[in-house]
C-alpha cells in the first residue's frame, strides 16, 4: 500500500505543470467554497448582531401571551427573582428590563402612534447599541425624568427637533384611563430601519411604570449572552429555567423567523455552490487522470504483463487521484487563507444597508472557522478518491494486449 502511495505521488509529480494547473483549478473551487462560507457566516453574524444589538437582544423574557396580545397587564411574574437569576447565570453577559406599551405622541405639528419603551439606560447600553445610534443629543444623560428619545423619522413627522416638547398619551393598565405626560426631546436616534425610526419612543423605566400604573413591574427583559450561539442552542437550561411560572424565554430566532428562513436559504445556496464545485472537481480530476492514463497506457500494460493484478492497477490510479486531491486541497486552503486574510484587512462596507429587517452597523468580514479548513478539504479528498474510481476501473479492466499493442 505504501509503495502504491509512493508510486502514485511520483506519477502525479511527473508532469508538474499539469498537476499544478489541475491543482490550482480544483483548489480555486475549494477556496471559493471556503471563502463563500466565511462570508456567509460573517453576513449571518452581522445580521444577527444588527437585529439583536439594535433593540431586540439575543433573548427575551416575557409573560406568556404578552407577545400575542401586547396586553400591558401581562407583566413578567416574579421579575425580581428572574433578574436575580440572570445576574448569576454564567452564560448571561447582561440584561435590560423594559416596559412596552402602545401610546400616542403628539407635537404642535403632528401626531403619531408609537411603542412607548420604558428602559434603564445604564443597563440598556450594555445589551443593545441604541446608545450608538444617537445622531443628535444624548442617550439619557443626567437624570431628568422628562427626557424622551425618538427616532429620526418620527421627529420629521412631528416636525420636532432636539429640545422640543412632545406629549405622550397612554392608557393605564388597570383602569384604562388615559394619562398624558409632557416630555422634552433629549436625543434623536437613527437606525435606518423605518419601523424603529418612526415607531418608538424611549423614556426612563420608572416614568413609564408610573404612567402605566404597574408599579415596578416590567414587560420584557432583553438578554445578551456571553456567546452569540447560545441563543440558537435550545438544549441549554436557560430556556426552561426562564420559561417557568407563566413566563417564557424566546430567542432572536423566535422573534425574527424571517431571518432564520433567510439563513436556511443561504444554506441552500451554499449547498448548490458546493454541488457546482463538486462537478468542476469531478471533471477536473477525470480529465487529468484520463490524460495521465492514456499517456502511460503502455506502462500500465507492462505492469499488468509482469503480474500486477487489476486490483493493483485500480489501487494505483485511486492513489494518484487521492494525491491530486491532497495537492488541490493544500492549494485551495492556501488560496482561501490569502483571500480571507486580504478581505479581513479591509472588510466589505455594507454599513447602513437594511437587509431582511436589520441594518449592518459594522464592516462585513469573512469568518474563519476550523471546520472550513478540515471538513471542506477532507470532503474534496473523499470526492477525488471517489471520482478516481472511474478512470481506475477503466485502467484496471483494460486488456493488456490493448495497452501493450506497440510491443508484445
Amino acid at each position: 500500500m505504501w509503495f502504491d502511495i509512493k508510486l502514485a505521488w511520483r506519477n502525479v509529480l511527473r508532469n508538474k505543470r499539469r498537476t499544478v494547473i489541475a491543482g490550482i483549478a480544483i483548489g480555486i473551487g475549494l477556496a471559493c467554497l471556503i471563502f463563500y462560507d466565511g462570508l456567509i457566516i460573517g453576513m449571518e453574524e452581522l445580521s444577527i448582531r444588527g437585529s439583536t444589538e439594535t433593540f431586540l437582544g439575543e433573548a427575551q423574557i416575557h409573560r406568556k401571551g404578552f407577545l400575542d396580545t401586547w396586553d400591558t397587564a401581562l407583566t413578567i411574574r416574579e421579575s425580581r427573582k428572574v433578574i436575580d437569576k440572570l445576574k448569576t447565570d454564567s452564560r448571561v453577559q447582561d440584561y435590560s428590563p423594559r416596559t412596552l406599551a402602545m401610546a400616542m405622541i403628539s407635537s404642535p405639528a403632528g401626531v403619531n402612534s408609537v411603542q412607548l419603551v420604558g428602559l434603564d439606560p445604564s443597563r440598556e447600553r450594555h445589551v443593545t447599541r441604541i446608545n450608538d445610534a444617537i445622531m443628535e443629543g444624548a442617550f439619557f444623560e443626567g437624570d431628568n425624568p422628562r427626557d424622551i428619545i425618538i427616532g429620526s423619522e418620527l421627529a420629521r413627522i412631528l416636525q420636532t427637533g432636539l429640545g422640543d416638547r412632545v406629549v405622550i398619551t397612554v392608557s393605564m393598565t388597570e383602569t384604562g384611563d388615559l394619562v398624558q405626560e409632557m416630555f422634552r426631546i433629549s436625543g434623536i436616534y437613527h437606525f435606518s430601519i423605518k419601523e424603529m425610526d418612526q415607531g418608538m419612543a424611549l423614556v426612563r423605566l420608572p416614568v413609564a411604570q408610573t404612567m402605566l400604573g404597574i408599579d415596578d413591574r416590567i414587560h420584557e427583559i432583553a438578554v445578551r449572552f456571553t456567546q452569540l450561539q447560545y441563543a440558537s442552542r435550545k438544549d441549554l437550561p436557560f430556556w426552561t429555567t426562564y420559561s417557568a411560572h407563566g413566563n417564557e424565554a424566546v430567542s432572536w430566532e423566535d422573534r425574527l423567523p424571517q431571518l432564520k428562513t433567510l439563513f436556511e436559504m443561504t444554506g441552500t445556496f451554499r449547498a448548490v455552490l458546493a454541488f457546482l464545485l463538486i462537478v468542476v472537481v469531478i471533471f477536473g480530476i477525470i480529465n487529468t487522470l484520463f490524460m495521465s492514463l492514456y499517456e502511460r497506457l503502455f506502462e500500465f500494460g507492462v505492469l499488468r504483463a509482469v503480474g500486477t493484478r487489476p486490483w493493483g492497477i485500480f489501487r494505483l490510479m485511486v492513489a494518484e487521484s487521492g494525491s491530486l486531491g491532497v495537492i488541490s486541497a493544500i492549494i485551495g486552503v492556501i488560496i482561501s487563507l490569502i483571500l480571507m486574510g486580504l478581505i479581513s484587512l479591509t472588510g466589505i462596507d455594507y454599513r447602513g444597508i437594511e437587509f431582511a429587517g436589520t441594518t449592518f452597523h459594522d464592516l462585513l468580514y469573512p469568518v474563519m472557522r476550523l471546520y472550513q479548513f478540515i471538513i471542506y478539504p477532507a470532503g474534496l479528498l473523499v470526492f477525488t478518491l471517489l471520482v478516481g474510481v472511474y478512470p481506475a476501473a477503466v485502467a484496471a479492466r483494460m486488456p493488456v494486449t490493448e495497452a501493450t499493442r506497440r510491443s508484445l
Partner: protein, 233 residues
C-alpha cells in the same frame, strides 16, 4: 491434465483471428510447438507473420480463438484472470523492445517491483537486486532513474527485472531492435550466458541474425503458420 514432459511451453492447434473493421484477420493459424526448459529459442519471421500475437498467446496476455497453451504443464485457458496474473508474475519474465521501465522508479525499485508483488521480504529483495545488477553490469547504479541511463543500460535493467524473480521462461520481444549492433550483441551474449548459468528458458521474437545464430531452436513463422522449426544439434 498435466502435459509437461519436460516442456516449458506447449501449444496445440493454436489459432487467433482478429476482427478488424469488419474483416477477419487470421494472425495465427494452427500452431503446434514445444519449448523445453532451459532452451534458448527464437521465433523469427517477417513483419505481420504473427510473432507478437504468438507471444501474447503463450504468455496469457491474449486468449486464443481456438487451440490450447500449456505453460509448465498448466493449461492457461483454465485459469482465472487473477490466477493468470499471479502465474505470469511467478513463471514468466518479460523484456520489451522499448525497455519499458517505470520512469519514476529507481533502478533498484524497478528490479524489485515483481518481488514486491510476490511478497518477498525487503532484505531478500535487496540481496537479489544487488546480485542481479552485478550480473548485468549495473552495480552502483541502483539509485539512478531510468531516464538518466543509456538505451543499453536501460535494457540491462529490463533484463534484470525479468530475471530477478527467477521465472521459468523469459519472453523477449525484439530486445535489441532499439540498440546499436555492438550493444545489441553484448546483450545477446549476456542473456545467453545467463541462460546457460541459470537454466531459465528464453524465447525471443526477433529479426536479429545474432539471436538466430545463438538460438538452439529457431521457429520460423510465415502467414501465421510455422514454416520451419529447426533445432541445432
Amino acid at each position: 491434465m498435466n502435459r509437461d514432459n519436460g516442456s516449458i511451453i506447449r501449444t496445440e492447434d493454436l489459432k487467433k483471428t482478429y476482427h478488424d473493421s469488419g474483416v477477419d484477420v487470421n494472425a495465427v493459424r494452427g500452431v503446434d510447438f514445444e519449448i523445453h526448459s532451459g532452451e534458448f529459442s527464437a521465433i523469427v519471421g517477417p513483419s505481420g507473420s504473427g510473432k507478437t500475437t504468438l507471444l501474447n498467446l503463450i504468455s496469457g496476455l491474449d486468449t486464443p480463438t481456438s487451440g490450447k497453451v500449456w505453460l509448465k504443464g498448466k493449461l492457461l485457458s483454465n485459469m482465472s484472470g487473477r490466477r493468470l496474473s499471479d502465474f505470469r508474475r511467478d513463471h514468466i519474465g518479460f523484456i520489451f523492445q522499448a525497455y519499458n521501465l517505470i520512469p519514476v522508479l529507481t533502478v533498484r525499485e524497478n528490479v524489485e517491483y515483481i518481488m514486491m508483488l510476490q511478497g518477498i521480504e525487503k532484505t531478500e529483495r535487496h540481496k537479489r537486486v544487488g546480485n542481479m545488477l552485478n550480473q548485468v553490469g549495473l552495480s552502483g547504479m541502483e539509485d539512478r532513474l531510468p531516464p538518466k541511463l543509456s538505451g543499453g543500460q536501460q535494457q540491462r535493467v529490463a533484463i534484470a527485472r525479468a530475471m530477478v524473480s527467477r521465472p521459468d521462461l523469459i519472453l523477449a520481444d525484439e530486445p535489441t531492435a532499439n540498440l546499436d549492433s555492438e550493444t545489441g550483441s553484448d546483450l545477446i551474449d549476456m542473456m545467453y550466458e545467463l541462460n546457460q548459468k541459470t537454466g531459465m528458458a528464453f524465447l525471443f521474437s526477433t529479426h536479429d541474425p545474432m539471436v538466430r545464430e545463438k538460438a538452439r531452436r529457431v521457429i520460423t513463422l510465415k502467414d501465421g503458420r510455422i514454416a520451419e522449426n529447426n533445432i541445432k544439434k
